[in-house]
Symmetry: D2
Subunit: 304 residues, 4 copies
């Protein structure tokens, strides 16, 4: 397929590379020019503006947040203004339910198609084409996207015919993940202060009952107090919990654990932890318990 | 080995059966006589009192709670009064850290050995000899117990040389499990009220990112609102969260998520849900959201 | 002074009446015509549009929420478009910090003055000219407003030179008030379920240690379970807690009690309690405790 | 009346002094001899053991906690063993509901009367005979105590015929008070980080809507970050919240705000704040917000 790809961060550039390698004709665009180079070497065309990335059957976006997507998709010279009638915007960013609804309306008015297909997985999974993708939108349009989705993800699940539903599933998934971090943080603070070896504890848990990779990844980060460099930074986690709560408000669903997580992330950020991995909320229970042991050898931590 | 086994509930009788089948000489005791029969048919001796179950190298206990263990182990004619010097009490119940410390002292004074080895797994895993066991105590004594543990569990992890540590790990594990239930309850309330299919959602989660069995088991129970019959009743979950918090108090570790779970279980019980599975806390977010949809077809629920 | 007054709800009409009675020349405007009549009988001029209420030295607004103020103040033909240079907008509504900042900018660009002066007090206090007013803005402009403020309130406290600060103080005050309701709700649920007379308890508290009127008012409403008619409806309380949390986010101040209150209000509303007084969150602990006693004789309650 | 008085801390010695001054014949006892002297100078007899303080019509106890009361009242040579049949134990300590029930049973078996009458008020109010007393027990026995209570308190409210009810009211009152502290802590963290003067804010609140003395006392302590010396230390506040939650468990009343307070106090203590006033929980929101401003000039604080 002839495709545009906008948003060449760590996730986006890996995803675009897979599309190119699979034989799609891909035109890439990013605000900062530098990132386009390595993709050009793989065979990508370079677009000098958004419009130039919107001349194919579809344009894929993988951007940081609502502000970036609003700007790229709805701004002057943006996607809705540039994409041909009948062409598809495949939006893979983690954005709010409200923005996803706005995009659906805007593309609908412009005679364009819109599919939301956010992804689960870290950059290494993106590079391997092993993302888990949850898609929503008109089933026919989703089918049009499948050749692209199949290259980027190991599975694509269509969850609903309205695009926003995929965004809600993605946000709820990140809420579940942050819940794992908080729970592990409290458990490890408890057993650690009791003098039990934290790594042996994580090894026990993850080799028996809690076999999902998240428990191993976050259990070890918390046991090590290793929150830098961030694979997924605390402000991004905070953003997603805020978006989950923002979606829950008009739906009128109280979520006390999400509220707790909201306050945890806000605290990490307020205390100077903007550059830390979101796993850093898993250190707060240890701090609250006043446990000085188990330092990570870095001398001091930005979250203390 | 010549072994006593006390506590023949669903878990205990399955564990005892495996010991018998493996060739150990097992004398069983239970307060209510009825439960001994099927084990006798497998070849168990029947003890008429605790002392009669304490004449071997070791006695295993698998009892409901602190009160039962206190009574059996420390009461008149109990284990400490009956077990030979040098023999071992292998305590596999989920009990408090405080009681585990008391037992260690009492057995120490009596010249007996004491190992704590609580288990993870439901009755079907006990029957299959597939429990996950976390053990703590003097390493030599744990080694003495290994022929028994190997028959009951698929893995045994020694976590510490002090028995109470295994009990703390077990309690923290049940806290982690209850956290999964609460998080799933809130997420499913959110996506369910949004009109997304709850079962498709659980299927997506558990086939991609949240592959630990707990997510599938509890996700489906919550999506189905199927809380009866209880595999693990709400009062047992409440008990374990209380014991985790009780252990956290002298260690001075604040655990806000554990506090939330405490209040959730107390609410289910206060509202008449004593007989429900502990997964019933996963329905509270739906109730709080006033979502009447997704009834389970039973007409009404004890937790509403 | 020659004054316009926009927003003639229960609070606004009482405040406008006091201005008229005190001898000010008041032109009133309200979206729904009916409410202007009784004030006209006191001597008010009736404005047919916003501009007609903006021809004096100052215009006072007392509106329901951000949306109404945005519309009236910043919309086409609104206050910023209509007020003379040098004239003052005295904004007494409970609005967000963000909107207050926007208003300050808009009025500044238009060469107009802007004072935020939200009020504490229920309609009876407004009628008696006994409101407590917290004001913020340029001190000279606040002084210009004092003849008006003195008529509407028993005290006016200038808290800061930036208008938004008064709005933040007002929101924080409503947070404190909602905290009183929640705390009383839990305490009364506890002593009520223990069989202690709820009214005797409230009488004891409020005649000894908790003498602030809020304890008496809300203690009795909760003891009586009398949440209708609403003096201040649950959705308004929810709005204010949301605005307090929205102000806390850019300031990066985690507020766990505010998060709890957020979830409490959302639950009351989700369960059909939109028309109830915000004191209804004080009934949730009783409901969670499954206490059927102390019914208020109405047979059933919308929050159950 | 001929009275014994046991427990001569800051509260107890002030209360005993008032009884002596009012003309009662008072025999005092305290574990540490030193404290009896100043009361002897007022005319008190000094008892060398508990029994010597139990020879009158009544014995008053004002002790630190459950452990002290258990020891003094139920231990060998304690009150139940020493008091004459028909004489009264007037228990004014803040103790658990469970212990109050045990005392009622023990005194009943011994043919003695028992009244629980815990107090509200700080040491200065005790010295002035201005405590607020909540009493519970057999009405005739309470009447016998009234001449004593009238000297120690400005009001005595009989709340129930079962003594434990007064203890529950006292614990719930301290829960309400701690809720005031938490709410003020969050509000002051918010307005303080926004740059609003914290003292002006407290002055505004307490001169208008929140006139109960608690708001002034704790508002100023938090604004000043002045938590030493403690008038009521954090471990005592923690104890009372724990006892309130312990009473709520068998009554099955979930109290989420009490759970939050539990975790707040535990954190202050875990972080080394044992000697701080319980108002120190009101500094945690500021710490969580990472606000370095508004230091109290002491250079550093034990709770940071």
């Amino acid at each position: 397929m002839k495709i545009g790809f906008i948003g060449l961060g760590r996730m986006g550039s890996a995803m675009a590379a897979n599309l190119i390698t699979a034989g799609h004709e891909v035109t890439v665009f990013n605000r900062s020019a530098g990132k386009r180079r390595s993709l050009a070497q793989l065979g990508a065309h370079e677009a000098s503006d958004i419009a130039a990335a919107c001349r194919g059957e579809a344009v894929v976006t993988m951007l940081a947040d609502d502000a970036a997507v609003t700007d790229i998709a709805l701004g002057d010279g943006g996607i809705t203004a540039s994409l041909a009638k009948g062409a598809t915007h495949l939006s893979m960013s983690t954005i709010s339910v409200a923005l996803s609804k706005r995009l659906a309306q805007a593309h609908g008015r412009a005679g364009q198609s819109y599919v939301a297909a956010p992804v689960f997985g870290r950059p290494d999974m993106a590079a391997a084409g092993k993302l888990f993708i949850v898609a929503a939108g008109n089933p026919d349009t989703v089918d049009i996207c499948r050749p692209m989705l199949a290259v980027m993800g190991q599975t694509t699940t269509q969850i609903h015919s309205e695009p926003w539903a995929a965004n809600l599933v993605k946000l709820s998934g990140n809420f579940l993940m942050a819940s794992v971090i908080e729970a592990l943080g409290e458990a490890i603070a408890l057993i650690g202060k009791a003098g039990i070896d934290r790594h042996a504890y994580v090894e026990f848990l993850t080799s028996t009952v809690f076999t999902a990779p998240a428990y191993r990844i976050y259990g070890n980060l918390i046991a090590d107090r290793k929150f830098e460099p961030a694979a997924f930074a605390a402000p991004l986690g905070y953003k997603d919990i805020r978006l989950a709560l923002a979606a829950a408000e008009p739906l009128e669903v109280p979520m006390p654990l999400a509220s707790l997580l909201h306050d945890r992330f806000l605290r990490v950020i307020a205390q100077g932890g903007e550059q830390l991995d979101w796993a850093a909320i898993g250190d707060l229970a240890r701090q609250d318990g006043g446990d000085p042991r188990h330092s990570n050898g870095r001398g001091s931590s930005a979250v203390e």
